[in-house]
Subunit: 391 residues, 2 copies
């Protein structure tokens, strides 16, 4: 595959890969964004007229979705009706050349179109086929639809997020979709690696619900050892103390003094030199047992001065700490800026839009502070048809 | 590389890869757990005497860390003092054969040991070197330490998690570490893919803070279009409605009716047939604008009957919905069980421990319901030295 097109992403470790992307909204498009940011070419195959549903989900600017734009920068778009013979022929020609097909339909949808894994694998034996779905392609709930909110609730993360006795709390970003997207990237790259040896493509089946279980970590360990399902703990870590948000005079800060040496340094920075010798706080286990008491003692001191004072003192003592930043502050942070994590892309008409950068920095490749724009629906039809000798 | 050892993971798409793992606690070990679950061989190089710090972080069972065990199942362990000449020779012999080196030290640590990227790349040109750190290997804050809590606070996710006007709220799992771990896997597999073509290893640099920015998605789009930093929204989606937790008679459930057709179906299932024609709820944009009013109307009806009744009605109408499950309920859920997402591994002495399974299902490979045990410190020293002809 050798193509030059303005919508191609900059070179990266995946530049030789062609991804055909049937996915919509978030889990699938997030997966292909990550692949694209690492150099892969992504051709979005969208429904004629409507396109990716995310085009119609806010926030909007001048009628165009910033949500869609941020996730689909650097991709190409062709609108194909997969029930129409002419368009099916185009789709199949793309699959002849493609390395990977990504979709996030409800299981069974591709089979109805005649494009189930068995069929495609027989016809395109080297094609890697990745499906991200709510509940996965096996099991009693395979046919059900799920959205982020559903898997956050069913997968347990909401049961450990929030404050004790408080109302249900969603993780504030679509962690159900995003986690599934990341595991789908991992499945795709694993299957592409496997293909280099074995020669054959594989079917990668990632369920959003499975992804939620996979990120519960410590919460499962606590349940497995105690037999009791853990509850939410507000803003502190379940088994490391002090490791939480604490209130200063003007704002909260977080302090993460994860071991005895750091705890001692922290106490010095806070002017609480005697605290490490208090029998209730001698070890991490004791500090965790007495976490509320310790927080009360610490906050009595912290409230005397503003957050900036304490952050400077803790920093100087080498104690991991930080401010609670909102999205504007986070994006403007010098380290975030220095790492190109707030990049500029553009709406389909060229209007600039800030979006998150690529967190996977690979030596020898540029990590640009701008990314190509998101495509208009069907924008690359002519380019693609010409390139693949389809007209 | 051909080895048989009881601690080897089952075959998978990455079975031909050897990973040397210097990492401790969570981001790095989570990364190598994902690689191991996909078949890669992981040799943990631990500090003599102490080992991975996670061995000393709870929850414990009979003095052994369930936290450590769940994340390090299926890996091998050798204890090496990287300042002692004899052990350095062993480490270097491992690197001769290895495909990937993973570490999550504070930047600069490996250089002090004489194992910085430039040095290792010159000596082992095919080695992929992946570093996960708090702030990354470039930028003004590169030398600072960070823990999960710090990057959750600085990266903005805490600013959109929780309830309006409520106290700071941490995502209840270590999403800062886990996200960095997943991006590190993606960087490693991208670099391994790249190496197959170019022949040379790459340096992969993943920062926990960068990973937090990368998962903000919609929150950045909202800030970029409105100029205002978004706040927390409790348990609802910022731009899709109804898409939230709602209270029934006995418990909350989540309902995710992401488009007009699903909203109509939902209203039917709830016996609120006239609601779709209410001018305040005609479109998703209007429903989002009037989200609180809509929730009040819905909950007045939902409170008449228990959660189970409404879930059955919504399910029958094809509306995505689900119960708010705690960790015990999530792990026992039939779909989670059917997908082998609650697997059994074991402490180093063989005592069984339940842990999360592998969410990346790849056709043609087994997805076992058990995984090999976690290693005792230095357990595989003799095996490894013999295999690599080092004694």
């Amino acid at each position: 595959m050798s193509v030059t097109d303005s919508a191609r992403p900059p070179a990266g470790p995946l530049s030789d890969l062609l991804i055909i992307d049937l996915s919509r909204v978030l889990a699938g498009p997030y997966c292909t964004m990550v692949l694209s940011d690492l150099g892969a070419r992504v051709i979005k195959v969208e429904r004629p007229g409507i396109g990716d549903d995310a085009r119609h989900i806010g926030p909007f600017k001048d009628g165009k979705s910033a949500y869609f734009t941020s996730i689909n920068r650097g991709k190409q778009s062709i609108a194909l009706d997969l029930k129409a013979p002419g368009d099916r022929a185009i789709f199949e020609a793309l699959l002849e050349t493609a390395d990977v097909l990504v979709e996030n339909y409800r299981p069974g949808t591709m089979e109805k179109l005649g494009y189930g894994w068995e069929t495609l694998h027989a016809r395109y034996p080297r094609l890697v086929y990745a499906a991200a779905s709510g509940f996965g392609h096996t099991g009693p709930d395979t046919g059900k639809a799920a959205y982020d909110m559903v898997v956050q609730a069913m997968g347990g993360i909401m049961s450990v997020t929030g404050h004790p006795g408080g109302p249900p709390t969603r993780v504030g970003t679509s962690i159900g979709d995003i986690t599934a997207g990341l595991f789908t990237v991992i499945g795709i790259l694993s299957a592409v690696h496997d293909r280099a040896g074995a020669g054959a493509g594989r079917f990668v089946d990632v369920a959003m619900l499975d992804g939620q279980i996979a990120i519960l970590e410590n919460a499962i360990a606590r349940y497995a050892t105690s037999g009791e399902a853990p509850g939410p703990l507000g803003a502190r870590h379940p088994s490391i103390t002090p490791f939480a948000a604490y209130r200063c005079r003007d704002a909260h800060i977080v302090i993460a003094a994860g071991n005895d040496a750091l705890f001692r340094s922290m106490c010095g920075a806070l002017g609480l030199e005697k605290l490490p010798d208090n029998p209730r706080f001698l070890t991490n286990a004791l500090r965790t047992e007495n976490a509320d008491t310790l927080a009360t003692v610490m906050e009595a001191q912290l409230r005397q001065k503003p957050a900036a004072h304490w952050l400077a003192a803790l920093d100087a003592a080498g104690v991991p700490c930080g401010p609670l930043q909102n999205v504007a502050e986070a994006l403007a942070h010098p380290q975030v800026q220095a790492r190109n994590m707030a990049i500029m892309t553009a709406f389909e008409d060229g209007t600039p839009l800030m979006a998150a950068g690529n967190p996977v920095k690979v030596s020898g490749y540029d990590d640009p502070a701008t990314r190509p724009k998101a495509p208009a629906l069907d924008e690359h039809r002519d380019t693609i048809l010409k390139e693949f000798d389809l007209k």
